[in-house]
């Protein structure tokens, strides 16, 4: 049996286990281990596991994840996310679709302190859904706005997805995070425009607009919450941009900053701090498990030369870079529909990477593209984690309604992908201009 066949069989087994609810870390690790055992024997399996488990835990880069997660958790526990929403609502009230835009805006703002899309969706979801439904927004537009707004969590830095991608492709985490800034702002605007335009084309999406009048005094006083986020964002990204911090140090400063902010605002109780830390521990545990699984799988794919087989096949058909790009994006949209997005990225990157490098695409830029297609995956049926989370925290929003509303927001994401293909500078301008 050719070694490549073994590689393909391993992939097949990984997918089968995954779809039968085996935790994805284990679904990758077990078939990969069997593959190693078959091809190279027990000694190699032992050495490979030894090396992988040790190097991935004795890791400076991975430290970034618990620190950023803790930062987002503390900001949530400090009640800042609530106030953010109030601030955006106050400023956007009176606009057509203003409350929906406020949902997007506060999601984007919260995303600047949180590295996770699911956390962003869950956090903003509870408040936003209540207010939007009360203001007469249709359930689908409400659900779609929140789920889509939540996806900004991994595009606007910090972002655990960028960190995982950076670890797998050996790209600078700092550069990747900074590459997300402008696309993040653009996508926020695109989402807002989407709400505005759709509410004009289909007025019955917003049945009645009983948004109450807001005074200018209320507007300005509600701005206070945003200041905290600005401070954190400046420490974290400013620190990285101006060369004061590495990505890990910025995360440490951010977590410390969030902690101090919580104390200053006197909103952090011991119970809330504990909750934030326990959430962080869980996240660390499952992300580490996935990283281990991914690297074991990665090793099998490497020695079986599956990535080469695939890239040779594709290149022998004389594809142009543009066609290749279209194929890759389509593949990710398809996979994103049915797969958990984190596992999608860790399984596919080793296969896709040689292709991307051969065509000469910039790997920082491609990281942004990956995050955008992952965002689509998060809100596309049937497996859309953001929609699941929203459905979990807001029971009156049904899953089908959320998915229906989310489809609308795939359009602006896709538009940004195309825009980035034409103007890569949108992503690359900031990371390549660092001090």
């Amino acid at each position: 049996m050719s070694v490549s066949i073994v590689g393909l069989l391993v992939i097949l087994m990984v997918f089968s286990l995954m779809f039968f609810r085996i935790p994805i870390a284990i679904a990758m690790a077990i078939p990969a281990s069997i593959g190693i055992l078959y091809l190279r024997g027990w000694d190699t399996l032992m050495s490979a596991l030894d090396t992988i488990v040790w190097s991935q835990s004795y890791s400076y880069t991975l430290t970034t994840i618990p620190l950023f997660v803790l930062m987002g958790q503390l900001i949530y526990s400090s009640g800042i996310s609530n106030e953010l929403y109030t601030a955006f609502r106050n400023w956007l009230s009176g606009f057509r679709g203003g409350l929906g835009m406020a949902t997007i805006g506060s999601s984007a703002m919260f995303a600047a302190a949180s590295g996770s899309s699911l956390a962003t969706t869950g956090t903003i979801g509870v408040m936003a859904s209540k207010e939007m439904l009360a203001a007469g927004y249709s359930k689908s537009l409400t659900g779609g706005s929140i789920a889509a707004g939540g996806t900004l969590g991994i595009l606007i830095p910090p972002s655990t997805m960028f960190i995982i991608y950076g670890m797998m492709t050996e790209q600078s985490i700092g550069k990747l995070l900074m590459a997300g800034i402008i696309p993040g702002i653009l996508l926020t605007m695109f989402f807002m425009i989407t709400i505005y335009v759709s509410s004009i084309i289909k007025p019955d999406l917003i049945a009645h607009t009983n948004e109450q009048k807001v005074t200018w005094k209320e507007r300005f006083s509600s701005l206070k919450a945003t200041i905290w986020i600005f401070i954190l964002f400046t420490i974290v990204l400013g620190g990285m941009y101006f060369g004061i911090f590495t990505a890990t140090e910025a995360a440490g400063a951010g977590a410390m900053g969030a902690f101090l902010i919580g104390l200053i605002r006197k909103k952090l109780t011991v119970a809330k701090i504990n909750e934030a830390i326990f959430e962080t521990i869980k996240t660390t545990g499952f992300i580490f498990a996935i990283v281990i699984g991914a690297f074991v799988l990665n090793y099998v794919l490497t020695i079986t030369r599956v990535p080469h087989l695939i890239s040779d096949t594709l290149f022998s058909t004389n594809l142009s870079p543009a066609m290749l790009f279209v194929i890759i994006v389509l593949m990710y949209i398809l996979l994103g529909a049915i797969m958990d997005t984190l596992s999608m990225v860790v399984v596919t990157i080793p296969i896709i990477l040689p292709l991307i490098e051969a065509v000469g695409f910039d790997l920082i830029w491609f990281g942004v593209i990956i995050v955008l297609v992952v965002e689509m995956g998060l809100i596309s049926p049937p497996v859309g984690m953001n929609c699941f989370v929203l459905n979990g925290v807001v029971k009156e929003l049904e899953l089908t309604q959320i998915f229906k509303g989310s489809l609308l927001f795939m359009v602006p994401i896709l538009a940004l992908v195309v825009l980035l293909y034409i103007f890569p500078e949108i992503a690359l301008f900031i990371p390549y201009s660092v001090q």
Partner: protein, 337 residues
Amino acid sequence: ACGKTEGASSSAQSDKVFELNYNNLAPPTHPYTKNVSEPWAEFVEKETNGRVKIHVFPSSQLGTPDTGYDDVSGGVFDVGLLYASSDKNDILFPLSIGDLPFAIPNPDVAVSVMNKFYDKFMKDKFQDAVWLGASSTDTAQLYTTSPIETVEDIKKRKISNSLYSRNELIKSWGAVPVSSSNSELYESIERGIVDDVIYNTTGAIGFNLNEVAPNMTKLDLGVSSNGLFVNGNIFNQMPEDLQTLFKEKLGPKHQELMAELYMAQMEKSIQEFENRVKDKGGKVITPDEEELNKFKEPAKKMWDEWVKEANKKGHPGEEMMEFFKKSLEEEGVVIPF
């Protein structure tokens, strides 16, 4: 354990094809890949009449230098260069003598001295991996953001370093050693996280360090020595004639390619560096002997430390050092202390 063998058309041992995975630490476009690992793979296949096939995996796909010995002895990869000073496995420690600052000036000397050292002290040390010969990269230099002429100039500066064993030296200059990974090196200088970098000449050009650290102080700090190893299990499965071929012809060929590349590259790279920084206010500084000795002096402590460390680990430290110095002298190298 089963070696992965395939394509055996008959049961005769001599017809068996051995496929070996070569872990190449350099990227696909690196001169090392183009001039050493790939030509060597072709050479092996030709010399063995196709009985041994080498698959080269660039960009450390099969493992990083810190786990090299464990990886090759466990069969994570079958062939590759190991670096004693970077390897977390203590078994390679005696070979780290080749990395002492201001010891081995170039790859030719490395091959000759370190092979002798291996024969004398290390011959029966490795059970799970087989030694195919010593080699090295070119010598390291100091790359700086502002010109460094004297030891005084270097005080308080933050210096990044690819070889941890040099950190003591950096400290004794009054500077601060900073650890940063290779992938973050360029950025670290660019953003002022570090001021200067100690790096081997070819690598510095490869990373475009000249763009951010346009000055070079030519200290000839010494090479990074390495050794080519093959997995013991698969080696022992080979028929005797192949084993002999590996030891007598294929291993030495690898050394030869390494020395050819890095000897030539060393000269060329310094020239290339000078050309690149000429118009940008940068320069190559060669300290006179008196000044150079001031840079070298503190290294004596490290040589002594090495002996102590070796004794602590149960090796004949003094004897090893004595032999090492004698071999260096035989190559015409002047021991700085």
